[in-house]
């Protein structure tokens, strides 16, 4: 057949018309849309019966109540518990993504024993029986040799039944070395001890306060019990409560506050004393409280009046004197003012004289143990176990000095000084640490000067991790005895620090344990039984659950029903019974500490010529920097001006950047006396010139691919600085040098 022009064109046009008019094309297009989606390329979540379980979140020490939605035996969503005294329905970003930890790839499935060199990541599975007997044998050997004191425990907390079981075990075994992860709470405990003579936790009545003077505390950045603080902040929005935020960087808290006052970093104590100066001079203090319930005021007053006039404070802090005077006046004239401290999330204790100076402000306005003020909250005494009977070996071991120097002649008031442990091990000045348990903590990530911490760990011949996740510390352990994940176990969640009223939460199994894990409480009991003698006698319970039920007594039923227990007849102490000092009054200048009242700036590391800038950390609620790291969802929320690919951004004032010839997004080399890191530059007007800010919570080497290997761990760049009175870590930053990379 011959194809001429005419037939060719008719074929073309006819074809086009036919195709358009025929439903075939449209049908095929529609089909293809449907068809390509018919294949099981995406999972189809199984439907089932929906139910809700109330529990408590223990991903941080905030103690929020949670309600978990379940479909059959799967947990599908975590929500905040309605009616809970702390979070009433709200929940933080980390708590919301908890299921990614429960079902995530970082869980430790079974007890593991290290094969080959430490930290290489080669493990062999062992049975629980084998694991427990191995630990019992090692500890038994040490004890036989009279070295029971060389065993130690690093614990995330020293409250609640599981930490107390560890404590009990260590006591009857014969070692004084239970060390708690440190935080601003250590400084507050010490302050309350010295100024009020009590052993108590601080409780802040934020909900009733109407003027918050925050010395760098990240009220909406994760300080205290985070969700409670978010709610308090909104309460102030409604009631007209004022927040004044003092810090050198415009944090989220500073941006939310009514007034942000940038200050030269590390000079907060001077400002607190300067405010005290104005309050005293203008007689704005609570005369009744000062006259009847305080001691040493005259001495302190003279000193404050002599040395901390607004002008000299202005020179130190960089805040002009008019602002200081106005601030002091509005603080003292507010009906329920409250001053707080603890930088960022309060993960470092800071200097003790800063905490006492800030606390003195509260005393000046007389808001101690008063509505809208600060309370000394005694531990709820629900854990009443019979005294342990120590044998001779245990008694000898308990007599030994603590390795971290807490309670020693140098630092008689401190209870835990974990920051001093690496140095104590590395110098070998006291005695070596031969066995170390780590529970509820991840010291290889969270402790400052990572290199020194790693070196110290390498010197400990036997490290046991109780972590549910393969974190940095578990990776470098000899034995991992994985705890049930927090949604798989019963546990009491003690009142979070900062809460004025006792609220004990109950963590309970939302799902059955997924893997071959064991409750750490049960492991302690099994271990004690394996060791026999007095140690076994001190642990009469058959299981942890039995121990918990028995300990909580009548509270158990309330907690099972409501999910938490709160104190029904909580009352406010009168000033007459509040203070247990020698004088029976509030001590403005505790004698035990001598020079405490003075402002001596913390000597941070590095000299000005080699390291012209100052590096400070900043905390964000979107970057978990505690026991667990960010799950994938939370990583997703991190801004691209904080992390891009694997590069972390430092925040730099455009002025400082200009002086160093650095532009937005440019690579730079950051070096401090402790370490070096490659970073990218982000220009931020909200940071004081001369400062460099780096976020905490990145630079993990453990956990999953969604988190590991991204950014820098701030702790690699900073080391601890010992406070001269408390021995706690007082470092707020470090000197730093910045160069183009």
């Amino acid at each position: 057949m011959k194809i001429d022009r005419r037939s060719f064109l008719s074929f073309l046009i006819g074809g086009a018309a036919g195709t358009t008019l025929s439903p075939l094309t449209w049908k095929l297009m529609d089909d293809s849309a449907i068809w390509t989606q018919m294949w099981p390329w995406t999972p189809v979540p199984e439907d089932g019966e929906a139910s809700y379980v109330n529990s408590a979140c223990s991903l941080c020490s905030g103690g929020c109540g949670i309600t978990v939605r379940k479909i059959d035996d799967r947990a599908v969503k975590i929500e905040g518990m309605k009616g809970h005294p702390l979070n009433n329905g709200g929940l933080c970003i980390l708590g919301l993504s908890g299921l990614q930890l429960l079902y995530g790839p970082t869980r430790v499935w079974t007890p593991l024993k290290r094969v080959g060199k430490r930290g290489r990541g080669r493990w062999e599975k062992i049975s629980w029986k084998g694991a427990v007997s191995e630990v019992a044998e090692t500890l038994g050997d040490l004890r036989k040799k009279g070295q029971s004191h060389t065993a130690g425990i690093i614990s995330g907390s020293d409250r609640g039944t599981v930490p107390r079981l560890f404590d009990r075990f260590l006591t009857v075994y014969g070692s004084p070395n239970l060390m708690r992860t440190s935080s601003i709470i250590d400084s507050y405990e010490l302050t309350l001890h010295l100024m009020q003579g009590v052993q108590a936790l601080p409780g802040f009545d934020f909900e009733n306060a109407d003027f918050i003077l925050s010395f760098g505390s990240g009220i909406v950045d994760g300080w205290g019990s985070p969700v409670r603080m978010f709610r308090a902040n909104s309460t102030w929005c409604n009631t007209g409560g004022k927040v004044v935020q003092i810090e050198p960087r415009l944090s989220n808290t500073a941006a939310k506050s009514d007034k942000w006052i940038p200050i030269n970093p590390g000079t907060e104590t001077a400002l607190a004393l300067g405010i005290a100066h104005v309050i005293i001079k203008e007689s704005l203090y609570d005369a009744e409280f000062i006259n009847y319930y305080s001691e040493g005021f005259e001495d302190w007053k003279r000193f404050v009046l002599d040395e901390y006039g607004p002008d000299s404070v202005a020179t130190i802090t960089g805040i002009d004197s008019a602002t200081i005077i106005a601030l002091a006046s509005s603080f003292a004239r507010a009906s329920k003012p409250l001053a707080i401290c603890g930088r960022g999330q309060g993960t470092t204790p800071g200097s003790l004289n800063e905490c006492t100076a800030v606390h003195a402000l509260n005393a000046l306005v007389g808001n101690i143990n008063k509505k809208g003020g600060i309370f000394a909250v005694a531990e709820p005494d629900y854990i009443n176990w019979p005294e342990v009977e120590m044998d001779a070996r245990a008694a000898v071991g308990m007599q030994k000095d603590r390795l971290d120097g807490a309670g020693s002649k140098k630092y008689p008031f401190s209870r835990h000084l974990l920051n001093r442990l690496p140095q104590a091990i590395n110098s070998g000045e006291k005695y070596p640490l031969k066995a170390l348990f780590v529970a509820g903590a991840n010291p290889l990530y969270t402790m400052s000067d990572s290199k020194a911490v790693k070196k110290a760990f390498d010197k400990v011949p036997f490290v046991v991790s109780f972590s549910s996740y393969m974190d940095e510390t578990a990776q470098n352990a000899d034995l991992i005895l994985p705890n049930h994940a927090y949604l798989e176990r019963y546990e009491d969640i003690p009142t979070p620090a900062g809460m004025p009223k006792p609220v004990i939460g109950l963590s309970r199994p939302v799902v059955k344990p997924l893997f071959n894990t064991k409750h750490t409480g049960d492991v302690i009991i099994l271990l004690a039984k394996a060791m026999g003698g007095n140690i076994a006698d001190a642990f009469a319970w058959n299981s942890y659950d039995e121990c918990l039920k028995e300990t909580l007594g009548y509270k158990w039923r309330v907690m099972v029903e409501k999910g938490f227990w709160s104190h029904p007849d909580f009352f406010v102490q009168t000033h007459e019974e509040s203070f247990d000092t020698v004088s029976g009054k509030f001590e403005f200048a505790p004698k035990e500490t001598g020079s405490l009242k003075q402002f001596k700036p913390v000597k941070i590391e590095g000299d000005k010529t080699n390291y012209p800038l100052l590096l400070i950390p900043y905390d964000s609620i979107r970057l978990a920097n505690g026991v667990v790291g960010d799950p994938p969802f939370v990583m997703k929320s991190v801004d691209d001006t904080v992390l891009k690919g694997t590069d972390v951004f430092i925040e730099l004032n455009p002025k400082t950047a200009g002086e160093h010839g650095l532009r937005e997004g440019q690579l730079a080399m950051l070096s401090t006396p402790v370490g070096k890191a490659r970073v990218k530059v982000h220009l931020f007007d909200g940071i004081m010139p001369g400062l460099v800010a780096l976020p905490r919570g990145l630079g993990h080497t453990a956990f999953d691919d969604y988190l590991a290997g991204k950014g820098i761990n701030f702790n690699e760049l900073i080391g601890p600085v010992e406070d001269s009175v408390s021995g706690l870590d007082a470092a707020w930053g470090i000197r730093v040098k910045l160069a183009k990379a």
């Binding site: 929500e79 970003i93 004081m688």
Partner: protein
């Protein structure tokens, strides 16, 4: 008559209370089976139905200020009901305006990924699945059966947690009720916000909190009459159902494209 009965679900976000904590973002991801990848730092590829933007006033230290702005789908009403920018361009009727609730839907099985809707959305609230979602082994256990996971090649966006509306309606029906109480249907972000910055409810109901907070003007497509309230890109005439409250003027200015010396507009431009 019909119009009186219809609901117009909307959201009011108080930027004075919002702390930028990101709980809304994650509550949404957890509720709606939103996927995630190993690197989420390229925000053009990162699927976030609810995204929190950080705004700055651009002033040098120490007069700098920042504000966070959570951005869900605006569920635009358009110049007349249902005339949302995305709905009008979709060739597959994969996105539709629900007259009963005012919610703009996204029907994944109809979508064939032409992404016209993404181009037409002025709020960048729509996201394309460039890859099939992958959950690490075992993690698919937490997926909710109420929202189907999406595959490669389709567009997705905030649905005002429409499945929660359906569940609330079913529950009410089982209890023999026809009306929903205000708190019965709430989105996941509203419920999770620890600061209580988000309020969700019926903008047609003068008794609902959302109505009382913004006082929408029915003559001007629900433009807020509360001077502290604003909608994003008001002058485009998209008539979003998400309102923002802020006591700070610079924040309200950032909500639309103003010329340098222009004061905040008093009236909207009506187009087409």
């Amino acid at each position: 008559m019909k119009h009186k009965k219809a609901k117009k679900y909307g959201m009011v976000i108080n930027l004075d209370k919002c702390t930028g904590c990101g709980s809304c973002m994650v509550a949404c991801m957890a509720e709606n089976n939103v996927p995630f990848r190993k690197d989420e730092s390229d925000k053009l590829l990162s699927i976030t139905w609810m995204r929190v933007y950080k705004l700055t006033n651009g002033k040098p230290f120490p007069n700098t200020d920042i504000c966070y702005l959570p951005r869900p789908c605006m569920h635009c009403e358009g110049q007349h009901e249902g005339h949302s920018p995305c709905v009008t361009v979709c060739p597959a009727v994969a996105t539709d305006y629900n007259i009963e609730t005012g919610i703009v839907s996204q029907i994944y099985t109809r979508c064939f990924g032409c992404r016209y809707c993404m181009a037409s959305c002025p709020y960048k609230a729509r996201y394309f699945n460039w890859w099939d979602p992958v959950w690490p082994d075992g993690m698919e256990k937490y997926l909710s059966p109420n929202v189907s996971p999406r595959m490669r090649g389709v567009v997705e966006k905030c649905s005002f947690c429409f499945h929660r509306y359906q569940m609330a309606k079913e529950k009410a029906f089982m209890e023999g009720r026809r009306k929903l109480k205000e708190d019965e249907y709430q989105t996941a972000c509203t419920q999770a916000c620890p600061a209580g910055a988000i309020t969700f409810g019926d903008l047609n109901n003068p008794n609902h909190a959302v109505y009382r907070m913004v006082k929408p003007d029915p003559k001007h497509h629900g433009r807020p009459t509360n001077p502290n309230a604003f909608r994003l890109l008001e002058r485009l005439g998209t008539n979003p159902k998400v309102y923002y409250l802020s006591s700070r003027e610079w924040v309200r200015r950032v909500g639309d494209n103003y010329l340098k010396n222009e004061s905040i507009a008093k009236k909207t431009v009506h187009q087409g």
